[in-house]
């Protein structure tokens, strides 16, 4: 059965192709359209997925959307009426968008893809997230927790995954949403919502959670994981322009306007110190809430493993605490945990729940087939690859100097050990926002200056943001402290942090954040990046490289050889590797 999952008409559109229960391709639209967080119908990603799978549009059995637009529209109507007349302006805007475009998603998909109406089905937003976590994980049984801003009505959901079936247990509904609280505080701190949440997480390490009690007062958490958000402080239910109210500023002090100077480490009593403290408080609030929530999930399911998805599951700092302090023995986080991942989840849900049923009649009704599940997500490298012949042809055409050394890994390791910084484009691109060694910028993590150089000259982003390490599995414990006695499946996917050992803090300053942690990626020695790490270790005695996504600030990760070369030439990278070619700058 050939199933195409789509995430579209919101933010972070994506497509995923599942053939006979196996994930063949999964691609975010932004990587191809070059529009960050692209929210349109993912035409390019669909085409690329079908190409990767050798599947024609006409061969598709089902096209599954990651959420139900009619339910979402219902929520919009009800919630806007509840807060009328304050919501008047937002209502007019929302109706304009919905009535002209978003309500008619089935027709838009049918027209764009040329498939039959009966082949387009809709999965619930949080069910898609849950399926992306459970069916991608290796667990037969798991508690599945999904947390994000909002889907149709649900903002948070608990499921019990068992024997290939997902049983819904509980939901928290809009407007009560920890994801929206975190996003509102992201906006409060002057960062862009749906993009700047990572910055809040990074900034939190510089502060103290002295506003935690104040935030708990307006975001009340029940022991069963329910959340009650005070509408006097948070305005997302009725305001199109701001997600918080003046009451929140009375509670926390003036908000930071976008672009205002943020001086870190901050002088005591300064605005920067207060903003860092607010970030630390937001992070502590989130972690406390999630710990309560997974405690409830454990109580309800009795499972030993936890699978997470939803945008909040991209919070690597919280994920570490959940495994360390929570009741579960194992943790898995789907690498594209945000809305892009809904495409994968929708397709996996349909593959398992609709199975070989006559899909024309199914129309979105779950028909669980217990006891059966696919192989999970076998690799995160599910994107497009650059064909080596095309790479050479392109480099010849644009007359960029390059060589193709036989001992590529040794050559690159030598240059990295000499302090050079390089782009690394090899094989199929990663699924999810983390660079895992297919579209990466790599550097020696030992120098003091590397982090500042990369932030200021290469990535062109805020100086306080940390970089992540990729470390060979066999020496990971030398540098980063694992969670004792528990199975951490987040580390190959760079989805959680780990405290750095004393030796790492002294010798690898470029990849250790100010709070002494790192968002670590464990790499198998036999993988492509593993071979490079082994060569690097032979030269330096250190099996660790700084690994950050290959993009400039505000741009999606590179995909093709042309994008890689463009980014290379606009940054201060020393060299670029695309497949088996090492590209240099022109002498001029």
């Amino acid at each position: 059965m050939k199933i195409l999952g789509l995430s579209a008409f919101a933010h972070d559109s994506a497509a995923a192709l599942v053939v006979d229960g196996r994930v063949v391709a999964a691609i975010e639209e932004e990587r191809l359209s070059r529009t960050k967080h692209d929210g349109g119908l993912p035409h390019n990603a669909v085409r690329a997925c079908l190409e990767a799978g050798g599947v024609a549009m006409a061969d598709l059995d089902l096209v599954v959307m990651h959420e139900k637009p009619l339910d979402k529209f219902e929520r919009l109507l009800v919630s806007q009426l509840r807060s009328f007349p304050r919501s008047g302006r937002q209502f007019v805007r929302a109706m304009g968008t919905w009535l002209s475009d978003r309500l008619w998603q089935r027709e838009a998909v049918v027209r764009a893809l040329g498939c039959r109406t009966s082949r387009v089905v809709f999965a619930e937003h949080h069910l898609s997230h849950a399926a992306s976590a459970y069916f991608a994980s290796p667990f037969q049984e798991a508690a599945v927790v999904t947390v994000d801003g909002v889907g149709e009505w649900a903002t948070t959901a608990l499921y019990h995954g068992r024997g290939g079936e997902l049983v819904p247990l509980a939901e928290l509904h809009f407007p009560h949403s920890i994801g929206l609280v975190y996003s509102a505080l992201t906006a409060f701190l002057g960062f862009e919502v749906n993009d700047g949440e990572y910055k809040v997480m990074g900034l939190a390490a510089y502060g103290q959670p002295r506003f935690l009690d104040a935030l708990r007062g307006v975001c009340r958490v029940s022991p069963d994981g329910a959340l009650n958000v005070d509408p006097r402080c948070f305005a997302w239910a009725h305001d199109a322009d701001s997600s918080y109210t003046p009451a929140l500023e009375r509670l926390l002090g003036p908000a930071r306007r976008p672009g205002a100077p943020l001086v870190l480490p901050a002088a005591p009593g300064s605005d920067s110190a207060r903003w860092a403290d607010i970030a630390a408080s937001a992070q502590a609030l989130l972690e406390g809430y999630l710990l309560t929530l997974i405690g409830e999930a454990h109580r309800r399911t009795g499972a030993r493993a936890l699978a997470l998805a939803g945008g909040v599951a991209l919070n690597a700092v919280a994920n570490r605490k959940l495994l360390e302090q929570g009741p579960f023995e194992a943790l898995y986080v789907q690498p594209a945990a945000g809305d892009a991942g809904g495409a994968l989840g929708a397709a996996l849900w349909a593959a398992h729940a609709l199975g070989g049923e006559a899909h024309a009649e199914a129309r979105g009704e779950a028909r669980a087939t217990a006891g059966r599940r696919g192989p999970g997500l076998e690799t995160p490298f599910l994107g497009r690859a650059c064909a080596p012949a095309d790479v050479r042809r392109f480099l010849d055409d644009v007359a960029l100097p390059y060589s193709c050394p036989e001992a590529l890994h040794a050559t690159v390791a030598e240059r990295l050990a000499r302090g050079q910084v390089g782009g690394w484009v090899r094989g199929r691109a990663e699924w999810g926002p983390r660079a895992l060694g297919a579209r990466s910028i790599l550097a020696d993590p030992r120098g003091d200056h590397v982090k500042d150089h990369l932030n200021r000259k290469v990535k062109l982003r805020e100086p306080f943001r940390p970089f992540a390490p990729a470390v060979l599995e066999d020496e990971a414990a030398r540098w980063f402290v694992p969670v004792a006695g528990k199975q951490d499946l987040t580390t190959p996917l760079m989805c959680s942090v780990a405290p750095a050992t004393l030796e790492a803090r002294e010798r690898l300053p470029a990849v250790v954040h100010v709070d002494g942690t790192a968002r670590v990626q464990h790499v198998a020695a036999h993988s492509d990046l593993g071979r490079l790490l082994s060569e690097f270790r032979e030269r330096t005695g250190v099996g660790v490289l700084l690994n950050t996504s290959f993009n400039l600030a505000g741009e999606p990760m590179v995909g093709s050889v042309a994008e890689a070369c463009s980014t290379f030439l606009r940054s201060e990278l020393d060299f670029l590797v695309v497949e088996d070619c090492v590209v240099e700058r022109r002498a001029s």
Partner: protein, 56 residues
């Protein structure tokens, strides 16, 4: 987009609202959909556009 497809979606939406016990939203939805339809038709007839601005 075809009128037939849109009608089917509008019908699905009405059924959903009634099933969820939110039948009281149906009149509002009717007004909204009618407005959308009027705007759609008037959008096609450019010569009446100045009158639309006075209405909305």
């Amino acid at each position: 987009m075809s009128l037939r497809g849109r009608t089917a979606t509008a019908r699905e939406l009405l059924v959903l609202l009634v099933e969820h016990g939110r039948w009281w939203l149906v009149p509002l939805l009717g007004v909204l959909l009618l407005t959308a339809l009027v705007l759609l038709v008037l959008h096609a007839a450019q010569y009446v556009a100045p009158f639309v601005y006075t209405l909305f």
